[in-house]
């Protein structure tokens, strides 16, 4: 469904962030993109919806070539790609409802969005999504009154109300505590399964990636160095992605993941 061919990005400073990356993602697949800081994970997903303009290569979504689109066509294409951000990127002074409805901006006229008179089905869908993530009672709160986990849920609603075919997720858990991180990852994966959405999730927490994604792609200095199952991610492969380090602890932990999370949950409940 999403096809990336020979994608290269060189910044004006001369840094090459991506070196001819090829990637194909079928409908409904959740893919975790791992790699060290500066490997090009953020650049890769921003090249897909052209928040960053790729230098070379092609990106196509359901056969539609995205890299050559004009402004209006690009806007229409962006509606099909929901994006979720590390620092939630909610517009802080707008209400929760306005933030969710901003996901419909590509579908409504300026006048309707300016007067905040969105079509009834959009409002209904917004309430439905907020209810799904457990925040329907917060609709009129301002976004900056919410906690981190709640904000990220609103961010997820904003992406989903676009009715996307693909989710681009940039470090969704980097600003969250371990328990909320898991809840958010679980929510994203459940929603992708419910709606048959494909997703690229940038994440630097290898354990979380292994827990939730069916496919892991490792990026190192702008090149794909691993593409396969979570189970195939051995110490050798991690060294290839991140460099020399003692990886045994990271790999072992995968088995007693659930125990640990319940301990964390208890700790948090106790606090």
């Amino acid at each position: 469904m999403l096809r990336i061919d020979n994608l290269t990005k060189r910044y004006k400073t001369g840094d090459t962030a991506l070196k001819s990356v090829d990637l194909e993602i079928p409908r409904g697949q959740v893919l975790a993109l791992i790699g060290p800081s500066g490997a090009g994970k953020s650049t890769l997903i921003r090249c897909v919806n052209r928040l960053v303009e790729p230098t070379e290569g092609k990106v196509s979504l359901d056969g539609l070539e995205l890299t050559t689109l004009g402004t209006g066509e690009l806007r229409r294409a962006r509606r099909r790609m929901g994006m979720i951000f590390q620092e939630y990127a909610l517009v802080e002074r707008l209400s929760v409802m306005e933030n969710v409805l901003s996901g419909r901006l590509g579908y409504v006229s300026f006048w309707r969005s300016f007067t905040r008179r969105f079509p009834q089905e959009d409002v209904t869908e917004a309430y439905r999504l907020l209810e799904r993530v457990g925040l329907d009672h917060m609709a009129d709160k301002r976004a900056d009154e919410l906690s981190g986990g709640q904000r990220q849920r609103v961010g997820i609603c904003r992406a989903l109300i676009q009715d996307p075919a693909l989710l681009l997720v940039d470090e969704p858990t980097a600003s969250l505590d371990p328990k909320t991180s898991r809840q958010i990852m679980r929510l994203i994966c459940e929603l992708c399964a419910e709606r048959d959405l494909a997703a690229i999730i940038n994440i630097h927490d290898v354990l979380l990636a292994q827990m939730f994604a069916r496919r892991i792609v490792g990026l190192q200095l702008g090149e794909i160095v691993y593409d396969g199952d979570p189970d195939g991610l051995t110490a050798d492969k991690l060294t290839l992605i991140y460099g020399e380090e003692d990886w045994e602890a990271t790999i072992e932990k995968v088995d007693d993941e659930d125990d640990e999370s319940s301990v964390e949950a208890e700790l948090e409940a106790a606090l």
Partner: protein, 268 residues
């Protein structure tokens, strides 16, 4: 051994200017200049002492302020000043919004940016009184000239601060709205406007306050408003009426000041 040397090693904050010659040179040069500047200031104490009782008499003639004998003129002047203030603030802000958007580096292309920054620089170069002199020469005496002068000054002030506030906004919020497929206007309305609005409302009220005070100044060079009334009363040596005018101006400025503080708190 290494432990020992770690203890004996001293530390000083690195100086702001690395070269000691330049550092001390600037400091001593500055002091010498200050001493010379104060030395050049030629205070004639005889004239000061002669001026002091005159100042006392002058201030004494302000009292008691006379609101009644020129009340008609004061009333007309104040209302003229007030509507000049409102009109010039509204016109100035309306024009400065597109100019300010153009002058924000993260929003516009290079040529538009340079053009809008140029407009702002020119309108900020001249103080209100000089703008008013020009406007009076162009359009003749009266409040229209004053409104033009105050509007131009408002563009320079408000446009520059708007542009700077937009440049300081959080780019990620803007990116998020862009990624939904929003049009440019929708993007402005949903990501830029909410971020800059509270500060811009505060600055608008502040500018309203400035424009009211400046409306008294532009009146002195023929730009209409309370300034003209004030000048006339000085010319006629009616200092008690002038005092009344000044008290009315002070009262209105304080009123604007307090209400704008209250409104700013409310929109945060």
């Amino acid at each position: 051994m290494s432990e020992n040397s770690a203890f004996t090693r001293g530390w000083k904050r690195p100086p702001l200017i690395a070269s000691p010659w330049l550092r001390w040179g600037l400091l001593i040069g500055g002091m010498v200049y200050l001493v010379l500047a104060f030395g050049t200031l030629d205070v004639n104490w005889d004239r000061v002492s002669a001026g002091l009782p005159r100042a006392q008499r002058f201030l004494g003639s302000f009292f008691p302020p006379d609101f009644t004998s020129r009340w008609e003129d004061i009333y007309i002047g104040i209302f003229e000043s007030l509507w000049m203030t409102v009109v010039s603030t509204v016109v100035g802000i309306a024009v400065s919004i597109p100019v300010g958007l153009g002058a924000a580096r993260n929003l516009s292309s290079r040529p538009v940016y340079l053009f809008c920054r140029g407009v702002l620089a020119v309108s900020r170069t001249f103080p209100e009184i000089i703008l008013a002199l020009f406007a009076v020469k162009l359009f003749g005496f009266g409040p229209f000239a004053g409104i033009i002068a105050l509007s131009i000054a408002t563009i320079g002030f408000y446009g520059k601060l708007l542009a700077e506030d937009i440049e300081d906004m959080d780019p990620v919020q803007a990116e998020a709205i862009k990624s939904t497929g929003a049009s440019w206007l929708q993007w402005l309305n949903y990501s830029v406007q909410p971020q800059v609005m509270p500060r811009m409302i505060g600055l608008g009220l502040y500018r309203l306050d400035i424009n009211f005070r400046e409306s008294a100044v532009v009146g002195i060079v023929g730009g209409g408003g309370i300034g003209a009334t004030l000048l006339t009363s000085f010319d006629r040596y009616e200092f008690d009426s002038a005092a009344a005018i000044l008290l009315v101006i002070i009262g209105i400025v304080m009123l604007v000041e307090y209400s704008s503080g209250y409104i700013r708190q409310w929109v945060q």
